[in-house]
């Protein structure tokens, strides 16, 4: 990747137009998660990154190729750097997954409404993730683990296509070895070497351990999965106001002005991406929105 010649600028959140300017960052870490997914660590070349909350996104600019929204997947407690888990699907994500340590990337953000981790305090948290959808939830899971006493049961239900597509394998093993987290992983197709569940993630909901009356559910994954996941949670008796999904539409400005990310009445960069099911559910089931 060629080095850009952007002048440094303060990295604190400034007036709205400031937020349209990418801040140059350096790639400090590159880890391969699966065949098509990488986690990269970025640090600003000057100063510290602004604080963020779990579930917020940054716009990552691969110089010369383009800019895309990517959720911050690292812990909010790490002040000097951020991690992003990126799945290669097109031109920009291919450029972002081809970076090496020392390469430069432009970053704008953070944008969007975070997961309601503060409002969820005192109750159980059930996290349902599908595929790359675990990445936007990682910061929320880390937050709950870092403040474990403040929450009840933590259940993570994770579905992936195959065993090779499971993200954060080592971390999942570490979390699973704790006595205060329930982790249930399922895949769609397996060879006989796999000793876990096979089937869709929604079928894990009926047996997950949480109290429907005091649980908050966080869902992220493909929209079809979120729809059926939300239905399974409603069937268990969780109120729609306590089910939160990360509703994603492609973003351009990230600051609520271009309308690119519109879903029904919402601009998802501004009103979302995290929205409760009672608000967004009706729009996620409508054709061609």
């Amino acid at each position: 990747m060629s080095a850009p010649t952007l002048s440094p600028r303060p990295t604190t959140t400034g007036p709205v137009d400031e937020r349209l300017l990418p801040v140059p960052h350096r790639v400090v870490d590159v880890r391969r998660d699966t065949a098509d997914t990488m986690t990269i660590g970025l640090e600003p070349i000057h100063g510290m990154p602004p604080p963020f909350e779990p579930g917020q996104v940054d716009m990552l600019y691969a110089f010369g190729t383009g800019e895309v929204p990517i959720s911050i997947s690292s812990s909010t407690q790490v002040a000097d750097r951020r991690e992003y888990t990126i799945r290669r699907v097109g031109a920009v994500t291919t450029a972002l997954t081809n970076v090496e340590r020392g390469d430069r990337i432009g970053v704008r953000g953070p944008f969007g409404v975070p997961w309601p981790v503060e409002a969820a305090r005192g109750g159980d948290v059930v996290v349902i993730a599908g595929g790359i959808g675990l990445a936007p939830l990682r910061a929320a899971i880390l937050h709950v683990l870092e403040h474990r006493q403040a929450y009840g049961q933590l259940s993570l239900l994770y579905g992936a296509r195959t065993a090779g597509d499971i993200l954060y394998r080592e971390e999942l093993e570490t979390w699973r070895s704790r006595l205060d987290v329930d982790i249930d992983v399922t895949i769609d197709a397996a060879g006989s070497g796999w000793h876990g569940n096979v089937g869709v993630v929604t079928r894990l909901v009926p047996r997950a351990r949480f109290d429907e009356q005091r649980a908050t559910a966080l869902l992220c994954g493909p929209e079809v999965m979120m729809r059926y996941g939300a239905q399974a949670l409603l069937d268990r008796g969780i109120a729609p106001e306590r089910i939160f999904v990360s509703a994603e539409r492609n973003m351009l400005c990230g600051i609520g002005t271009c309308g690119h990310c519109q879903l029904g009445p919402y601009f998802l960069c501004h009103d979302g991406p995290v929205l409760s099911w009672d608000r967004v559910g009706p729009y996620m089931s409508v054709r061609e929105l």
């Binding site: 006989s192 929604t202 079928r203």
Partner: protein, 150 residues
Amino acid sequence: MTTELTRHPFFAGLREEEINRLAPCELGVSYDPDTLIFETGGEADCCYLINRGNVALEVVAPAGPPLVVETIDDGGLLGWSWLIPPHRWQFDARAVSHVEATRIGAECLRAAMAHDPSLAAEVTRRLAEVIARRLHHTRLQLLDLYGQRS
């Protein structure tokens, strides 16, 4: 009467006389990990209520290891081919972990159902529920949910 049947969700809430009718059909069984419980094409002469562990339903793939299409966990029901002619297993079932189950003999179960139409209706309704749920999950699996972000 407390038999293993009353503890399993599939038969939970049945009336005592219905459970009594089914009790002679049950047999406690256990399997070590990797044991083949039944094989495709074999006679489906029973079903299993899984009380502990999980079972993989497998399809033999040409020139490769078998593919797991679904796993059935504790609280699940394994096998409904006993109900539908020609009463042959459609998949291989292999114990993934140590499995404890209640085996219900098909002939005995069919006889109990023939004797008691309301029991027959209830068992068939519950079985239809299980089948409908599995069909729903299979359809979702076919959608390849995680292939795309949306």
